[in-house]
């Protein structure tokens, strides 16, 4: 049976091309790998090679022919031992279908998958002993407890060891766990983030500390392309249990390159979980959850919160479920949604609003992705009014996402448009007065809450 040579596709987009030249004539011997013809596409002229040994039996498309469809037969090659008579019986088959024979008929309900608020995980109520400590200490305890619990957990980053942490978050860990598990890295985010991700693929559970998330921009290729996408790209074969943590958002007077919120950057990407603790309890419970999670988790901390003190559960078993928000203050008149340092601002605003007779419900998101839409919707059904609050820029921010989700899931319950309170849409200025003007303050939140209450 002679071998049919088909018009090849030479690029992902080619549908037809010109058969510009035959390099073999009928009767010529052809060896696998020999160029047999030149094809001209919209981009280039390329040669096609024979894939089998034989003799050029018949040329079906004359050279110079334009618009030859991909997969159309262009020649017949006689296999070893065949003579020309074999050509006569050949029925020229039409181009084989590009689509496979077995097709699935089910339509995919994309809308339903994305839009339906998924039930948030249940939070178990903690009523054990608490201890007053700083957020910095709570983060340290979370890491130490998890490192004691699982010896594949290790911490790496700049100054995490001998220096005891640039912000003293890893204080004491080197002494307890040694330098195999508390690894000081060179100042090379791209490299050490990739290294940590590779170690996670091999079954370890790295905690990669970024001194601040500003520097993680050099490493975002590995966070997204290597860590977040590998489970999917491997069809579930390779998991990547890794934590990326560090200070996020504006600190104080460090200007544009060191003052940025990355919540919406990471939250945009499937394959990642993103959490942002506010209190000491959040810090400990969310970081422990992140370390135990089999997926890559981004933990967005805040430098200005490191020194703040809270009552923190003492138990080693205290873990906050990722994807569950916390109602920090109940109220019936307006819902204020915030995360990280802005939760404190929201609570202050709620106090001021209460003095004016407006009871605000303050939701601490805790998780940015997955988002606890269910809790926000339930609150909006009660208050019918929503203010979102974040330090980051408004454009394509977390507030924008929440506003869209509410339109999709709670439109009929809203008595006013969602009001977003955000950082000002400029790079962070250095001057003290300008910096203050660039960040959301309590008064902005109070005004926004009054606006949605039409007061």
């Amino acid at each position: 049976m002679p071998i049919q040579v088909l018009m090849p596709a030479l690029s992902p987009t080619m549908t037809d091309g010109k058969l510009s030249k035959w390099l073999k004539s009928e009767g010529d011997a052809v060896a696998a790998g020999d160029a047999i013809a030149e094809i001209e596409t919209d981009k280039a002229t390329m040669e096609i090679e024979a894939v089998d040994d034989g003799v050029m039996g018949r040329i079906l498309v004359a050279e110079g022919t334009e618009g030859v469809a991909v997969n159309a037969p262009i020649a017949l090659i006689l296999e070893d031992g065949e003579d020309a008579s074999a050509l006569d019986g050949v029925a020229i088959a039409p181009a084989p279908a590009k689509t496979p024979s077995v097709a699935h008929e089910q339509a995919v309900t994309v809308d339903a998958e994305i839009n339906a608020p998924s039930p948030a995980p249940m939070e178990s109520v903690y009523d054990g002993p608490v201890k007053n400590m700083t957020v910095r200490e709570a983060l340290r305890d979370a890491m130490a407890e998890e490192m004691r619990r699982n010896d594949t957990v290790f911490l790496m980053g700049e100054e995490v060891g001998q220096y005891q942490g640039a912000y003293k978050v890893s204080q004491g860990l080197l002494d307890e766990f040694g330098d195999m598990r508390v690894v000081d890295t060179p100042i090379t985010e791209y490299g050490f983030t990739g290294l940590g991700t590779g170690a996670a693929m091999a079954g370890l559970r790295p905690i990669v500390e970024f001194m601040t998330f500003n520097f993680a921009m050099q490493a975002i290729d590995h966070i997204i392309n290597s860590a977040a996408k590998t489970l999917y790209m491997s069809g579930g074969a390779i998991s990547c249990p890794i934590v990326f943590r560090g200070a996020n958002g504006a600190a104080s007077r460090v200007a544009a390159q060191h003052s940025q919120c990355f919540a919406s950057w990471y939250a945009h990407c499937p394959g990642l979980k993103v959490v942002a603790p506010w209190s000491g309890e959040d810090a400990k419970g969310l970081l422990k959850a992140a370390i135990r999670d089999p997926n890559p988790v981004v933990v967005l901390e805040n430098e200005l919160l490191y020194g703040q003190s809270f009552d923190v559960p003492e138990s080693d078993d205290f873990v906050i479920p990722i994807g569950k928000a916390k109602i920090e203050r109940a109220g019936a008149d307006v819902t204020i949604v915030a995360f990280s340092i802005m939760v404190g601002v929201a609570l202050e605003a709620a106090e001021q609003l209460a003095a004016e007779g407006i009871e605000a419900e303050v939701i601490n998101l805790r998780s940015i992705r997955p988002l606890d839409t269910e809790t926000i919707v339930a609150s909006v059904k009660k208050t019918n009014r929503l203010v979102t609050l974040e330090e980051g820029w408004p454009y394509a921010g977390i507030g924008s996402e929440i506003a869209a989700q509410m339109m999709e899931n709670a439109f009929d319950y809203l008595d006013a448009p969602v009001n977003r309170v955000c950082g000002v849409d400029v790079p962070m200025p250095y001057a003290a007065n300008l910096e203050a003007l660039a960040l959301p303050k309590t008064t902005h939140v109070v005004e926004a809450a009054k606006a949605v209450c039409y007061r």
Partner: protein
């Protein structure tokens, strides 16, 4: 398996830290028969032929529109992965770029699963969700298949970090091309690997072209084996078209890395016969250049000639050709018969549900 007693002739270029690299001379020539056994040669012949026939078939399926997107073939470079794998132990890990089909076959992955991934089918290694550039197998300790140039180098360094952390006596074989070698993340990785004495062999597959740009037009220095010198990483240049040279260099390097001496670089001088990807018009090099390598330095022809010189019959080799062809043909059939992934697969494997 015959362990080399003599130093490989073409692997004598070394670059120690701080030493100025000497002039280049890519040595060639047939190794003496004391360096191999017949059985070993036959294995190489079969394994390399498997990669070549597999890749030719992939090219054919691409031409038929059954494989989409990017498809980077390994034809011409077969001796590199096949020879290096001779040094590998069970616990060792391998990671490479997007020109990865040959590496997967050499690591022992099933040609059916690889081909079905190329056609984007349910039976593929990544259930059709990864494609040519993204396949993995924990059984084969193969960690991809990475599409971002150079991205696999820090990841491989992380695999080596894990070998050291777990104390499993493993070595990571981390492959990248002459195009990736100018990336910053390569040097960040070199630095950490050397600093922490990680068990890793950086294998630079220098096929002379990063896509369409020749190495001379992209690299200020072209002695790639010496690129680790600033980090105290020794390097060797190897004739990557001669599998025995590759094997010997890999064995030495694996011994070095496994014994706790840290990373080592092997620059494999090799050549790809096909374009960078399927849609490469190859205007940046002459047909004569390609033809010259094919006719004078083909890695499979070299082994074939050695077998014939040893009195092996042409017929016996043809038997092997047939066997290989049958395996590839079976893989191609499987890859076309396997159904497309079920639409519900769209939403799986995004996150592991705890």
């Amino acid at each position: 398996m015959a362990r080399a007693s003599a130093k490989p002739a073409s692997a004598k270029k070394t670059a120690a830290a701080g030493k100025k690299p000497g002039p280049q001379k890519a040595a060639r020539g047939r190794p003496s028969s004391s360096r191999y056994t017949e059985e070993e040669l036959l294995g190489y012949y079969r394994d390399m032929l498997m990669i070549r026939r597999f890749e030719e078939k992939a090219g054919q399926l691409y031409g038929m529109g059954l494989i989409g997107g990017f498809c980077h073939l390994y034809i011409g470079q077969e001796a590199v992965i096949t020879g290096v794998m001779k040094a590998a132990e069970k616990q060792d890990s391998t990671i490479t770029s997007y020109r990865d089909h040959g590496h997967m076959l050499a690591c022992g992955m099933d040609p059916k699963g690889v081909m079905a991934e190329l056609t984007g089918r349910e039976g593929g290694y990544s259930k059709g969700k990864g494609g040519s550039m993204h396949m993995f197998s924990t059984e084969a300790n193969f960690y991809g298949g990475h599409g971002i140039v150079g991205g696999q180098v820090p990841l491989g360094t992380g695999l080596a970090f894990a070998h050291r952390y777990k104390k499993d006596n493993g070595v990571c074989y981390c492959y990248f091309g002459d195009g990736a070698v100018n990336q910053g993340q390569i040097y960040e990785s070199f630095n950490m690997a050397s600093l922490w004495k990680l068990p890793i062999i950086y294998i630079i597959e220098n096929n002379k072209y990063g896509m369409g740009t020749s190495i001379e037009r992209a690299s200020a220095t072209t002695e790639l084996y010496s690129r680790g010198a600033a980090h105290g990483i020794p390097g060797k240049q190897v004739n990557g078209m001669n599998i025995l040279d590759v094997r010997d260099a890999a064995m030495d390097a694996a011994g070095h890395a496994r014994s706790g001496k840290g990373p080592i670089i092997l620059e494999m001088k090799t050549y790809r016969y096909r374009g960078h990807s399927m849609s490469d018009p190859a205007k940046y090099r002459s047909k004569e250049e390609v033809q010259k390598v094919r006719s004078e330095s083909d890695p499979i022809d070299l082994v074939k000639q050695m077998l014939l010189d040893n009195g092996f019959s042409e017929d016996r080799l043809k038997e092997i050709d047939k066997e290989v062809k049958a395996v590839v043909s079976e893989a191609a059939t499987f890859a076309q018969d396997s159904p497309e992934p079920h639409p519900s697969e769209l939403f799986t494997d995004v996150l592991i549900e705890a």
